[in-house]
């Protein structure tokens, strides 16, 4: 059938030319019979499935739509072959067949109509409007020339801007890590006493909740860094208690 009709190269070209599985199916049907009323659905199903099989043999990547159609047709074929009395509640095989035939006919009709529509005389090509228009320049009325697509695009643009805009940090309320390192080192080097972490936060960072939170988080991160490098020790007596920090003694370091 199909394999005999089409060489391997042409097979690939053909597939690319099809605008979806229904169109492929339609063209197979038209090859079978001119009158779509007389096509054999089972034969058509076989042709389609062998087409898809061939495509996978050639390791062509078929779009999901083609595979979905293949699975539907396989199902349809099995329903046609099954005795009629089982599965009464679902669409009968003949209804499904009719439905498929209807869709094929409808597509073929719209394809014919598309051709005929574009064969019609067209404005600016086959017939014309008046070429010249008077300029009565005294009373010119401004007319806005905006099309709907422009408004839709403007709206889509605003929304996509809002969704896809990169995250921006408001720098003023972010306590930087090197700031935190400096203030920790400034405090802990003075003595060997424990210092509470919240005491390290500079005064100007204590005037709002947001700032305190940011400074606290950065100071904590910085303190971990200092512990990791072996310059400081961090201590917490029990969960949720305040963190204490002190610089590591030379003896401790040994």
């Amino acid at each position: 059938m199909l394999q005999q009709n089409i060489t391997q190269d042409k097979f690939i070209v053909d597939l690319n030319g099809f605008d979806g599985p229904l169109e492929l199916l339609l063209s197979l049907a038209q090859k079978q019979k001119v009158d779509l009323k007389e096509i054999s659905i089972t034969e058509l199903v076989d042709q389609y499935l062998s087409f898809v099989k061939n495509a996978s043999k050639l390791k062509l990547e078929l779009a999901a739509e083609y595979l979905m159609m293949a699975s539907f047709l396989t199902y349809l074929k099995s329903r046609i072959l099954l005795p009629k009395d089982c599965l009464e509640d679902e669409l009968t095989a003949s209804e499904m067949e009719k439905n498929l035939a209807y869709k094929l006919k409808r597509l073929s009709e719209i394809k014919n109509c598309t051709e005929e529509l574009f064969l019609k005389p067209k404005l600016g090509i086959d017939f014309f409007k008046r070429g010249f228009y008077e300029n009565t320049d005294k009373k010119v009325i401004k007319k806005l020339d905006s099309s709907l697509i422009e408004i839709l695009r403007a709206f889509a643009k605003i929304n996509s801007k809002r969704i896809f805009s990169p995250l921006k940090f408001i720098r003023e309320s972010v306590f930087k890590i090197d700031q935190a390192l400096n203030s920790i080192l400034g405090l802990v080097s003075r003595g060997k006493n424990w210092v509470l972490l919240q005491e390290i936060i500079p005064r100007e960072w204590k005037d709002s909740k947001v700032k305190v939170r940011s400074a606290m988080a950065t100071t904590f991160a910085a303190s971990l860094e200092l512990v990791k490098s072996g310059d400081c020790i961090l201590e917490q007596n029990s969960p949720f208690q305040s963190l204490k920090i002190k610089s590591k003694d030379r003896e401790d370091k040994k």
Binding site: G20, L22, K103, L107, P121, I125, F127, F128, L148, I149
Partner: protein
Amino acid sequence: MNFIHKNENKNFSSSQDNLSHLKNEVKFEGEKILEAIIFASKEPVSINDLKKSCPFIEDINESLKNLTDVYRNRAVNLVKIKNTYAFRTLPYYSNYITQTIEKKVKLSKAAKETLAVIAYHQPVTRTEIEDIRGVSLYKGLMDTLLETKWVNIGPRRDTPGMPVTYVTTNDFLDHFGLHTVKDLPNFKELREAGFLTDFKDEEFEI
């Protein structure tokens, strides 16, 4: 009705004749004003706009019909495009007109087919278009069609989800020389064969 004009009608004498003569004059003047407006306008003029410009015309549809008759046998015709009027040359004379073609829209095969689906099945939802064509619309296809101004957004479908619908425009009709959607090739046949479901006659057919 063609070309009743002043000089031809000078011989009336009785007062009754005179009255009907005057009435004809008024009608004829009205038609000429319509002619001037439509001739001078770049876009097809809607009947409503014509009414607004000429509130003194009693029966605008009759006047427009008369004007259409005047031009019936000319190379330039007054054509009705849905609820608008415009002058257009007959396609028959296109060979003699060498005009730089202003705007040649080149649509892809898929776009042409989608346009046809919208024209025949309007108002039609995206899902319905995809169902008829058996393939999903590629990105940017509806963009292109809306940009041609041949397609517009129609009323939302009154079904769950209230999907957006698409319809064709007067520009579309004008471009393909159609008066209404019913003039589409094979429209009647398709409708009778049951391929066009849910088609509603346009509301403002005048």
